[in-house]
């Protein structure tokens, strides 16, 4: 009891201080040795042994020596001890365990013996092969084979001929360590069946995973051929293969693919994808794929070759061959592989396939173009190139087309785009119209924005004047100010403003600041038709109002409809008559949008005039007017 308490205190001390060179979790696992739960303690012993945490030796030794502990945990402690404390010869405690009454301790002694390679270890292992307990015997056989390798064959030949299922993992371990042709032939015979039993198969792989014998790799690979990827042992085998040297794995995979068996090619491709991604295997895989027939083999092969680490640029032509494949899945996959090729000119390669009959293929091709380097895009000819997508009846295809146009297009593409898509700007389908306008806006030169907005019926050309002080109650908004009494674009108006932005809140009674304001030309600078007041007028733009006037020509009298929206409030006169007045409820730091839709308006022949009084308390400030006919089709308004 005292010993256990002392060990606990020691463990706590060790856990409390970080030990130089130890893995980050060492302290926690050392503490975990004190737990009552045997699973947690075993887990800790395993971790500390795997990471060879030297500072854990005292508490582990204490467990191994403590007679009050169970034989099982003492055995696990001995194994951990011998793994961490790398000595040349087995320690006295191991020798003591090898003669213990409990077979579980003797088996642990055998397992711990694997860490030694001298005569003493060999003799001890050989003695234990004659143990009365079968588990001890077979653990001893495996240990003896590890020490003696090929020379162990004579000793292990007889006992490994027909092991019981329970002893099969240890038997296979012994045969794998021996590594002679006879031993491996028996290994293959014995390992065949158990894989039908998943539990057994898992145990076998665990028992073999740390054996560095390269001859095991082909055996593993053959096993993988028989398993579905979803088989629970599949990842364990992949992991076991991964413990081997890179060149040994490459060599085994090359040999496997050279057999030209379809299943071998499939398996090799999966292993390349999941484990090794060695570019030197690319040519061998392509050669193997040349004789393949199954879809899943091609898929696995393309996935493997398309991995970025496999230098996919080397296989660009190979991928391109699949663009004409009858299977749409393979066409899609080939496109994805090509999008990993840095040198590939995707615009050239995918020129035909962006019009593929299969939607998934089209989407893959268009998405690949979004990743392509911009300098490869056909400047000035991008619209013609994208025509199939831009004119598609499929909405996602069209949306991707617009996205590429925005992403890769520039001012040189604007005119062709406007020619092709101009009609959509007059569409009554608002979603489509707005999508086209956004795409055009992103490639338009500075003087191209207003025409796009105008085509949609937005009034784009204005004269503006402001700002005039307007309080939170919109007092000035309701008053008649000078600009609305008499519109004179040459006039200068005295105005005031207050500063109520961060850093200074206007105090009651504080005098407003005076300044003069004049009319200035303005144009909408967004394809959504918004006349943004902030950039057009002097700061601060809060508690402000401004006037905007638009004159436009009309050939003959006609009835049209005017839609107005704005943030925060507007009053609109048409040909000197009040047409609309709306104030959105104020919300702090939020958009406050007022709107009126489709107000009937009678246009007169000649010049028509719209006067807007727009007010803003805070946040955004804009106003927008749009003319349409009775069917909702836009009417362009400009002064001739």
């Amino acid at each position: 009891m005292k010993a256990k308490l002392a060990a606990s205190l020691l463990n706590l001390l060790l856990a409390a201080y970080s030990i130089a060179g130890s893995p980050p979790a060492a302290g926690r696992y050392i503490s975990q040795l004190d737990q009552n739960d045997w699973i947690l303690r075993t887990d800790a012993l395993h971790y500390l042994a795997q990471n060879q945490v030297k500072s854990a030796l005292p508490p582990i030794r204490s467990i191994a020596e403590d007679q009050s502990e169970t034989p099982w945990i003492r055995g696990r402690a001995l194994i951990a001890l011998c793994k961490i404390d790398t000595q040349k010869t087995p320690p006295p405690l191991l020798v003591e365990f090898s003669s213990a009454n409990e077979s579980i301790q003797r088996a642990a002694a055998c397992e711990a013996l694997e860490n030694y390679n001298d005569h003493a270890a060999r003799d001890l292992a050989k003695r234990l092969i004659s143990d009365t307990d079968a588990v001890v015997q077979y653990q001893a056989i495996a240990t003896y084979a590890k020490i003696e390798r090929a020379a162990a064959w004579l000793t292990i030949d007889q006992p490994t001929r027909a092991p019981t299922p329970a002893l099969l993992p240890l038997t296979l371990r012994a045969l794998a360590f021996t590594g002679t042709d006879e031993a491996l032939e028996r290994f293959i015979t014995l390992i065949g069946d158990p894989f039908k039993n998943q539990g057994q198969a898992g145990a076998i792989v665990r028992f073999l995973a740390d054996i560095p014998e390269p001859k095991l790799i082909p055996i593993y690979l053959n096993l993988l051929e028989t398993l579905e990827t979803e088989h629970p042992v599949f990842p364990s085998i992949i992991s076991a293969i991964g413990n081997h040297k890179h060149e040994d794995i490459v060599s085994s995979l090359s040999q496997m693919m050279a057999t030209n068996r379809e299943r071998a090619t499939f398996t090799a491709a999966r292993v390349i994808t999941l484990l090794i991604q060695a570019p030197e295997l690319g040519q061998a895989l392509r050669k193997a794929l040349s004789t393949a027939k199954e879809m899943e083999t091609f898929q696995a092969g393309l996935i493997a070759l398309g991995c970025k680490e496999m230098q996919p640029d080397q296989h660009q032509e190979f991928f391109s061959e699949f663009l004409d494949h009858s299977e749409s899945n393979l066409r899609t996959l080939a496109i994805r592989c090509l999008s990993h090729c840095k040198e590939a000119n995707l615009y050239e390669i995918l020129s035909k396939i962006i019009d593929d009959e299969d939607r998934a293929v089209r989407y893959a091709a268009l998405n690949a173009l979004l990743l392509a380097p911009l300098d490869k895009a056909p400047t000035g000819k991008l619209v013609a190139y994208l025509e199939p997508a831009l004119a598609s009846t499929d909405e996602p295809t069209r949306a991707l087309g617009f996205k590429i146009l925005s992403h890769a297009g520039n001012a040189d593409d604007f005119k062709p785009a406007l020619t092709m898509l101009g009609d959509a700007l007059k569409s009554t389908d608002d979603l489509r119209r707005e999508a086209v306008a956004t795409a055009l806006g992103s490639i338009a030169p500075e003087n191209g924005i207003a025409p796009v907005a105008r085509s949609q019926g937005y009034i784009t050309d204005w004269m503006v004047v402001g700002t005039f002080y307007n309080d939170k109650e919109h007092k000035a908004f309701h008053e008649e100010l000078a600009p609305e009494k008499n519109i004179d674009f040459k006039a200068t108006y005295p105005s005031t403003y207050i500063w109520a932005l961060r850093g200074h809140q206007n105090k009651p009674g504080e005098k407003a600041i005076e300044r003069d304001v004049t009319w200035n030309e303005a144009s909408v600078d967004r394809t959504n038709g918004k006349l943004r007041m902030g950039p057009l007028l002097p700061p601060p733009g809060t508690f402000s109002l401004a006037y905007a006037v638009a004159d436009f020509s009309c050939q003959s009298a006609k009835e049209v409809f005017l839609s107005i929206d704005g943030d925060d409030a507007f009053k609109v006169w048409f040909n000197d008559k009040i047409l609309a007045e709306e104030i959105a409820p104020y919300q702090h730091r939020q958009s406050c949008i007022a709107n009126r839709s489709k107000i009937p308006v009678a246009l007169k022949p000649g010049i028509n005039r719209i006067l807007v009084k727009s007010a803003n308390i805070g946040h955004e400030w804009w106003v927008r007017l749009r003319l349409t006919d009775a069917d909702g089709k836009p009417i362009e308004a400009y002064k001739q």
């Binding site: 500063w499 961060r502 200074h504 600041i513 007041m533 902030g534 700061p539 601060p540």
Partner: protein, 345 residues
């Protein structure tokens, strides 16, 4: 070599400016360099520098300030000494400046290139200020350690730029704010001018971040994109950084300048203005870079306020530490001095 020529040219220009000052004291100012270096301003700057150099004010390790933001105070003090043409290692203040440079270099060496207080909200701000001061010192000092320290420090700035193009408190590419981004941008511009390689993409991304902080309605700049209201200090900082990126004529820059000018005068030039020195350090530079008319509108008013608040011992007091406020006061008053390349037009 380029740096040396640049510095030499600056010195010659400066001498010419000072000579012309004495010859044309009562005539209308024709150039910015001559315009406002009045006798009271020169005296105030000299007294301010003397207060920083007074025995016991500079710490034994070469730094200025208390425990909190020594790097910032040291960097600004070093800049203040360099502003009127003092050179590290020479003259009355040569030793003070060398000690300050050594302090910054030693700190950078002990922190793998980072010259700021770790885990401090002002960490990257200090780092940027140190890079700025060392970049400006590089052409004037023979200390070979400055170049390598600068490269390491600039590398930290480059690696800490976040996706949006900005920087924040710590040397890691997480979030960003305007104030910290402007500081790094100014530091990078200065380092670039000093000959340290700075990718144009970094500058472009930073510039885009600054622009994303502009408030559409007022033209002022906000602390972060999308949130809050624009303020004077951050607008001054935003404008200054855009001008340093060569964006003086950009519409957004001009809107920022309009915002600064429209800000109520009784507030912005008042003694009690929040973040007075930080704000006007940037605003004064912005107005100088904006053009003669704006400069002449601004400088007399701000210098009058600063002169009226100088203490008898030559230092200034404010919301922050003495060295910080004194240095910034000197840097604002001394804008007509054009010795430091970063402040040249």
């Amino acid at each position: 070599m380029t740096r040396s020529i640049n510095f030499l040219t600056t010195c010659i220009t400066g001498l010419a400016v000072l000579c012309s000052t004495s010859l044309a004291q009562d005539k209308p100012a024709q150039s910015v360099g001559v315009a406002r270096l009045t006798e009271p301003v020169v005296t105030a700057i000299n007294n301010g520098l003397a207060s920083l150099a007074k025995k016991g004010v500079q710490n034994a390790d070469g730094s200025w300030g208390g425990n909190q933001n020594r790097v910032a105070e040291t960097s600004l003090s070093l800049m203040a000494f360099m502003l009127p043409g003092n050179v590290p290692g020479r003259g009355v203040y040569g030793r003070h400046m060398n000690l300050a440079i050594d302090y910054l270099l030693n700190l950078g060496k002990s922190q793998r290139g980072f010259i700021g207080t770790p885990r401090n909200h002002a960490g990257m701000y200090e780092h940027g200020l140190a890079v700025l001061a060392l970049s400006e010192a590089w052409g004037q000092s023979k200390n070979p350690r400055i170049g390598s320290a600068l490269r390491a420090a600039v590398d930290i700035i480059l690696r800490s730029q976040n996706r949006e193009g900005g920087w924040r408190y710590n040397p890691e590419p997480r979030d960003a704010d305007l104030s910290m981004t402007v500081m790094q941008l100014v530091a990078l511009e200065s380092a670039s001018e000093a000959g340290i390689s700075v990718p144009q993409t970094t500058i472009d991304k930073a510039k885009d971040y600054v622009l994303s902080c502009q408030d559409e309605t007022s033209g002022g700049f906000k602390y972060q994109p999308g949130g809050g209201e624009p303020g004077f200090a951050r607008t001054a900082a935003g404008v200054m950084s855009l001008i340093m990126c060569g964006q003086r004529n950009l519409k957004q820059t001009q809107r920022g300048i309009a915002f600064l000018k429209a800000y109520p005068e009784n507030v912005k030039f008042g003694k009690g203005f929040s973040r007075f020195h930080y704000s006007h350090y940037y605003a004064m530079q912005s107005m100088y870079q904006s053009g003669d008319a704006d400069f002449h509108l601004w400088y007399p008013k701000i210098s009058a306020t600063i002169l009226s608040t100088q203490k008898e011992d030559g230092s200034w007091n404010g919301a922050h530490f003495t060295a910080y406020v004194t240095s910034l006061s000197i840097l604002i008053l001394g804008v007509p001095y054009r010795y430091l390349p970063i402040y040249q037009r």
